[in-house]
């Protein structure tokens, strides 16, 4: 189809263009949403109420693995989109599935990390620090989980319909979402984990 034209397929209709813009604006709202969570965390991070601090419970190795998993998944998502723009459905699906697996691996590691924290005696009920930590990480984790479900729905549609203006727009949007979650994770990694290790 339109793979020879200069504009990518996902921008080919006015409705698509509006939907993509709408999603960018939604991402703007998500930035404010996560900023609020970060603000809450920064205000409460010292409120440990005699319980453990982040430094006491931190598993930097696991966190690093999570980070690499998510960074790589963001890369493979980018490759899937690249394949889509080459109009190569098969390559696109392969990279999408790899992305999904990496995302699932991230979630597995994160849940493990949560279980570890609970064993170490930090839960949402322990202290304000615990509440803020689990809420910030949990909100990000829920976003990743929703992203995984969303990508699965899109894989089904891609298999059934191929690369069309509608499926390419949908896929472009989910890729934006996925990269965005990676951006949030970079800030979590730096301002929660590395900062925690420093304190």
């Amino acid at each position: 189809m339109a793979s020879q034209t200069s504009t990518p397929l996902e921008y080919s209709t006015h409705q698509n263009e509006m939907t993509i813009l709408g999603f960018w604006i939604f991402l703007g709202a998500e930035i404010v949403l996560f900023a609020t969570l970060f603000a809450g965390y920064f205000v409460l991070e010292n409120g440990v109420a005699d319980g453990p601090t982040l430094k006491d419970i931190l598993m930097m190795k696991d966190v690093l693995i999570e980070t690499f998993l998510l960074l790589t998944s963001s890369f493979t998502m980018g490759l899937a989109l690249h394949q889509m723009r080459q109009n190569n459905l098969k390559g696109m699906l392969i990279f999408t599935v790899i992305t999904l697996l990496l995302g699932a691996g991230f979630m597995y590691m994160e849940i493990n990390e949560f279980i570890h924290y609970v064993h170490e005696g930090v839960t949402m009920q322990t202290s304000a620090f615990g509440s803020a930590l689990f809420t910030l990480l949990g909100t990000h984790g829920v976003h990743v989980t929703l992203g995984i479900g969303w990508v699965i729905l899109l894989i089904i549609q891609l298999v059934r319909r191929g690369i069309t203006p509608v499926t390419s727009r949908k896929f472009f949007i989910v890729s934006l979402y996925w990269h965005f979650l990676d951006v949030i994770w970079i800030f979590i990694f730096t301002f929660v984990y590395l900062k925690g290790a420093l304190m």
Binding site: F75, G78, T190
Partner: protein, 99 residues
Amino acid sequence: MKKQSMFPLNHVLGFVLSIALTVGAVFIVYQTDFSASVKMNIIGTLAIFQALIQLIMFMHITEGKSGGINIINIAYAIFLAIVVVAGSIWVLTTGHAAM
């Protein structure tokens, strides 16, 4: 808009950079002798760079007819994020509120 090449150079470059920046941040935290606040400033800057890489190389923020609007939108959102985070910290941890 120029046609994309077969080899996703941008993506590979972005990926390599983001891994390097992550490893760099960890290195600074664990292997250097700077004071904690200097370390925070450095890794904070690295995080911002990495976010920009994602935005430009992976998310193609400037693409499409609404590229200008996108940039204004994200810049505004970042302004709001700074207001919310810095404002909350300032208001809740200074003056008589400081406990």
